[in-house]
Symmetry: C2
Subunit: 355 residues, 2 copies
DNA sequence: GCCGCTTGTGCAAACGTTTGTCAAGATGGA
DNA sequence: TCCATCTTGACAAACGTTTGCACAAGCGGC
């Protein structure tokens, strides 16, 4: 208990270039490294006397000690990181989603590793492997295509729990949280019927992405229920881009059978679709009503302001994060897929059909 | 070299729940673990005979071995991760930035850890510490405020190299890559002068964010050079949001001295500014020209389509990533700040002044 | 004064890699 | 035949933690 050398006051700051290690903290506090470890671990601190805890804490503070999480991760088998895989970081929808995930995770001291697939299956496989190798505690993916199950199963088999966000897969093999896109599509159909339209069409998103399939189902079903005539053409977009929206709308407009209203399953595609209309001298909504999907950030300030379906993306991110925390604890504990409600947003791109 | 037990063919797949370890690969290939390590490491493979390498590789493939990067990171002192800190994930500008970073990093097998500050200094400190503790190889931050130098210095002192992206700090203490915002502001002023405006104003972004300071400088200087009268009011936005744009424009419009053109240092703020105009019955550009900044995604489809300054954000992300790779190799090796050119985008929100 | 109990701390073995060093065998020249 | 040299691969010590276990006091009850 005697001060080793009172003439030499301990420097308050560490100075050595490398970050302080637990061993240094233990030495300074004159305890064994394991005691230091326990004194700093809230869940074990009861086992150590108050005086010792105080001494260790003081030493840690003086040295600005911050535990090396990769060492701790190696030992514990938990890295306090999760993987988040998205298709396309430039998609404005994903910002709020990631924020939702990271706010919930931050409360648990978990940081997300972000990876991008660009809708490419090979890339998906590569980034998943990268995340597995980094021993993330779980992976939340919003980038799956229909048919990716085997790839995801392999990851699961390596012991990393998976959460499907936004895009689901058939069956209930994975913990899942999605938007209620069937309902969202139905909202669009109901709105158009309410306005008095008798003939409608929808543009189709990529065929291998679950969200677009469900939106389409919901709309088609709604159209049928409302007794509208469906004059959609069968062409699918290769990707949910402005250009593809323009292309698909052109196909529809250049075809024989014209609707008075069109459901476009993505706001960005809807903007392209409206370009195709403008190129043909068609005004929106005077000649043709358009309802989009997603409620893109500046949708209210487009010309015309876009009627659309809004999805609670940040909330979905939070739900996905909470689900991930649950499956980290117990990989088998996921219930049925969570389904978050879509809401209808009326603006000026829809109106009564022309007479 | 004799097969230990030919009656029991080696299973092609691992089956055991846990991922294969290097030791298991070594055992299966009948070599020492260190030999296995070298056989799988491209830079050491020359030391091992071809036959052995082949044997080890085969064993690794059969077991689906993937090295544990956290263990490797602990040993090597390199984790093959970098930290990326941004202010606000919902900002559509940041998607392309992060994508730029991650595409360059992916080629090096490096994955980004993303953290968000929400423009809050305490959060900045917390997330930086979190990244340091995870032993990221470098940190790219696009979220600094003027005055954050000490915080960043501490991180540097802990041995993690830092790259400033988008937002710089005074002095040349950090590797830096930014947009040429002074020039960007100047472009706006020159354009307005060219249209024949004689009186202009600018709305001011947050005072503690370097980018807004430089945009403002560039514009003010341009205005002076062109001999315009500057009737800006001194109020700064608290944040670069639509609401703040509306508020600042309202102050300007409700003041005594009206310009015929306004520079708004962010497209989102510009949209708010135009709302304030609309509320007062002012048309854009008939009564008042507006030039924004950033070239937000759907800016061309707003009403009116927004004249703005475009920044190569994805390219900046790539440059930041390359710079990070350089400072990882040699922390002192950063040259002077890189400055990427801004370009002018003419659309319909600007026109000649009303007579 | 012995026993069993609690409390506080130390010991040492992991976690899965990487890498400096060294030994054994092979090769070649004299 | 012998020594020097080169390959090849093994040994073992790290990297910075966490944690099961053992052990030493201290203490009250008999």
């Amino acid at each position: 208990m005697t001060d080793p050398d009172p003439a030499e006051p301990r420097p308050p700051t560490p100075a050595p270039g490398h970050p302080a290690t637990l061993r240094e903290v233990a030495d300074r506090a004159q305890v064994h490294i394991s005691t230091a470890s326990r004194a700093l671990d809230a869940s074990q601190v009861g086992r150590i006397s108050e005086a010792t805890v105080a001494r260790v804490r003081a030493a840690a503070a003086e040295l600005r000690y911050a535990p090396d999480l990769v060492a701790a991760g190696l030992k514990r088998g938990r890295t306090a990181t999760i993987g988040v895989v998205v298709a396309d970081l430039a998609n404005p929808y994903l910002g709020p989603l990631i924020r939702g995930i990271s706010t919930v995770m931050e409360e648990q001291g978990i940081v997300p590793l972000i990876a991008e697939t660009l809708e490419d299956e090979d890339r998906l496989e590569r980034v998943l492997l990268g995340l597995v190798q980094r021993r993330v505690d779980a992976i939340i993916t919003a980038a799956t295509h229909l048919g990716d199950e085997p790839t995801l199963q392999q990851v699961s088999a390596r012991g990393v729990p998976i959460v499907l966000a936004v895009r689901s897969l058939p069956g209930d093999g994975f913990a899942t949280v999605v938007h209620d896109d069937v309902h969202g599509g139905g909202l669009a159909a109901a709105h158009l019927a309410r306005l008095g339209h008798r003939t409608a069409a929808q543009l189709l998103g990529p065929a291998d992405i679950d969200t677009f399939v469900r939106r389409s189902q919901g709309f088609a079903e709604g159209v049928r229920l409302e007794g509208l005539r469906d004059v959609s053409v069968g062409a699918h977009a290769a990707s949910a881009t402005l250009e593809e929206g323009r292309r698909l709308m052109a196909i529809l407009l250049d075809g024989p059978d014209h609707p008075t209203a069109v459901f476009v399953p993505s706001d960005i595609m809807a903007v392209g679709a409206m370009e195709a209309m403008a190129e043909r001298g068609l005004a929106c909504p005077a000649h043709l009503s358009v309802v989009g999907y997603n409620d893109v950030p500046l949708g209210a300030h487009l010309s015309p302001p876009l009627t659309t379906i809004r999805l609670p993306s940040e909330e979905l991110g939070r739900a996905a994060a909470r689900l991930a925390l649950r499956v980290i604890e117990d990989p088998a504990a996921h219930g049925p897929a969570l389904r978050l409600p879509a809401t209808f947003v009326q603006r000026a791109s829809t109106g009564p059909p022309p007479r």
